[in-house]
């Protein structure tokens, strides 16, 4: 095989998949995912909300299954499920002596159990358990349009909230004394995570939403400390690993949601390992900078 033929076949492998409408819609969806996940993810990672981002999609599961059983649009069911889950987590977090992680854990485990019961009960039509793993290749034009609208909402909200998010994430007490209300900003961020989850869930499935919402931003955080470049980097990483996952799934015939999630997380782990090795070599662990307690 000559070089020219090799290049041509590689190019073909990269371009060929996008000729079908299914893959074009999937590509569009992945771009939307990358934009929301990358930008919102920065606030999730910087605000220490990874567990919320991981658990919310699980907690909305009964809503999704309910919608599938009743024949309603999945987005509607998911929205109701998320609303209930968020309210429950907020309610449980008010119990004194239980920390945030414990309340999230309690709510998501019970809700996820409920969804599983509904999905796996003998009366449920087959295919509902697909909701766990997502199906980016089964999207309709309508699905993509809804995802685009939701993405636009998230991006606009992030633009408007930017100063408040920055002030609150950087220094809660300072923000409070400056007249901002961190609680309100927290709620807004959780609502945005919920909306982004709706964008992701149909394509990636319940189990893998956290990959897009957390991994690209976490990777970017390892590489840079400034907010602006980190956000751009996160979006870039999300787009590249999304497209990479799609190509992998197309050529290797693997499950799509898992492939995208796998590639995204793999990128994070490689970068984290590299950063760790570099940190050890230069003898300056990243630890001390952050151990300041006040």
């Amino acid at each position: 095989m000559t070089d020219a033929v090799l290049v041509a076949s590689v190019l073909d492998g990269l371009i060929d998949p996008w000729r079908s409408g299914i893959m074009q819609r999937a590509l569009l969806e992945v771009v939307l995912l990358g934009a929301t996940g990358g930008l919102l993810g920065c606030w999730i990672v910087w605000g220490g909300l990874s567990y919320s981002a991981e658990a919310l999609p699980h907690a909305m599961f009964p809503g999704l299954v309910g919608a599938a059983l009743l024949g309603l649009p999945l987005v509607l069911g998911g929205a109701v499920g998320l609303l209930v889950a968020a309210l429950l987590i907020a309610a449980v977090a008010r119990v004194p002596s239980l920390d945030r992680d414990t309340s999230i854990s309690v709510v998501f485990t019970s809700m996820f159990g409920l969804g599983t019961l509904m999905a796996l009960s003998p009366d449920t039509p087959t295919g509902v358990s697909e909701l766990l793993f997502g199906d980016v290749l089964g999207l309709t034009n309508g699905d993509v349009a809804v995802a685009a609208a939701l993405t636009a909402v998230v991006l606009l909200a992030l633009r408007l909230l930017h100063p408040r998010l920055l002030a609150t994430t950087f220094d809660r007490d300072g923000a409070r004394s400056a007249g901002l209300r961190p609680g309100v900003t927290d709620v807004a961020l959780i609502v945005l995570i919920a909306v982004a989850t709706l964008v992701c869930v149909q394509a990636l499935g319940n189990l893998f939403v956290a990959a897009t919402l957390v991994a690209p931003a976490a990777t970017a955080r390892l590489l840079g400390r400034r907010l602006g470049p980190s956000m751009a980097l996160a979006v870039g990483i999300a787009l590249l690993s999304g497209v990479g996952g799609l190509l992998l799934s197309y050529h290797a015939g693997t499950a799509t949601g898992a492939s995208i999630a796998g590639v995204t997380v793999a990128v994070y782990l490689v970068v984290a390992a590299a950063a760790g090795v570099r940190g050890t070599l230069t003898g300056r662990a990243r630890g001390p900078r952050r151990t300041r307690t006040g």
């Binding site: 239980l98 920390d99 309690v106 019970s110 809700m111 996820f112 019961l117 189990l207 999630a261 151990t291």
Partner: protein, 291 residues
């Protein structure tokens, strides 16, 4: 009504949840007290690819699960020991999702015939074996012994990390063991409740009891009892409805938790109306400022 319990495989399930409840209950208290809920969820979910590999290649499931759980405990645990909350949760989320993705890829594309993804993720009464009973028993004994020996240290470090270090309590070893035990308990709960719903026995019962107790020992005993009760109840439901036991136990535990929290809120309101509020002692610390 008790008919399901006469079936041999349900009886085995019964023994499994009873044996588990000792370890899971005692450790659940430490998980809630030390804020390890996300870690517990992560380590349990991370065992999934190990289980799939074991089923596909034909070696013992718990072995594969344990191997992955240990890797998880080592990577995340080292960061957790540095008391670095933000990065710890991000890494946990990443390893968790990565493990799930690897598991699904393995299950759907490499060993499509060898595995039943649902039973691995949500537990199954049919897969509980004698070996699982032995594992559950051993892990429970290990947890109870470790809790008796190291409990004071886990408590002191959780109460006041900096203070206890200056008092000469070294956190490293005992805390690493705590993380290791969480991984062990997570592995031992797999066959009954599956890798996604482990918190149903590891976190929820301890959180349910929490509002009602003021001492560690009572908390542990009540949690063990509640874990056992909910396990038996969930198992019965599972046998009756033919649903995965992990899901029934999770739903049951969630319902009991909601009842407990509501009852506590009503109880507190009545006491507040009757006498001086119980929380009065807590206010000075919030008031802040110089005297």
């Amino acid at each position: 009504m008790l008919e399901p319990f006469s079936l041999p495989f349900v009886q085995r399930g019964l023994w499994e949840v009873l044996l588990l409840s000792g370890g899971a209950g005692v450790l659940g208290v430490w998980i809630v007290l030390r804020g390890l809920a996300f870690y517990a969820h992560g380590v349990a979910a991370a065992t999934f690819p190990g289980l799939v590999l074991a089923a596909g290649l034909g070696f013992a499931g718990p072995l594969g699960a344990l191997a992955v759980a240990l890797v998880f405990a080592l990577t995340v645990g080292r960061l957790a020991a540095r008391d670095d909350a933000g990065d710890h949760s991000t890494l946990t989320a990443m390893v968790l999702v990565g493990a799930l993705a690897a598991g699904v890829l393995l299950a759907s594309d490499v060993f499509p015939r060898a595995t039943n993804v649902n039973s691995l993720l949500f537990g199954s009464l049919l897969v509980i074996s004698e070996r699982d009973l032995v594992i559950a028993g051993c892990v429970s004994v290990a947890v109870v012994v470790a809790s008796l020996l190291l409990g004071p240290r886990w408590l002191a470090v959780g109460f006041d990390r900096t203070g206890s270090r200056t008092l000469g309590v070294r956190a490293g070893g005992p805390d690493a063991l705590l993380l290791l035990l969480v991984a062990l308990v997570a592995v031992s709960t797999l066959s009954a409740v599956g890798s996604l719903l482990a918190a149903a026995v590891m976190v929820i019962p301890a959180a349910t009891v929490r509002p009602w107790i003021t001492r560690l020992r009572t908390w542990q005993l009540a949690t063990v009892a509640l874990t056992a009760l909910q396990g038996v109840g969930g198992l019965w439901l599972s046998a009756e409805t033919n649903a995965p036991p992990g899901a029934t136990i999770a739903v049951l535990a969630g319902a009991v938790f909601a009842a407990s929290v509501l009852a506590r809120a009503v109880h507190d309101r009545q006491r507040t109306r009757g006498s001086r509020p119980r929380t009065a002692a807590l206010t000075p610390a919030v008031r802040g400022g110089a005297r």
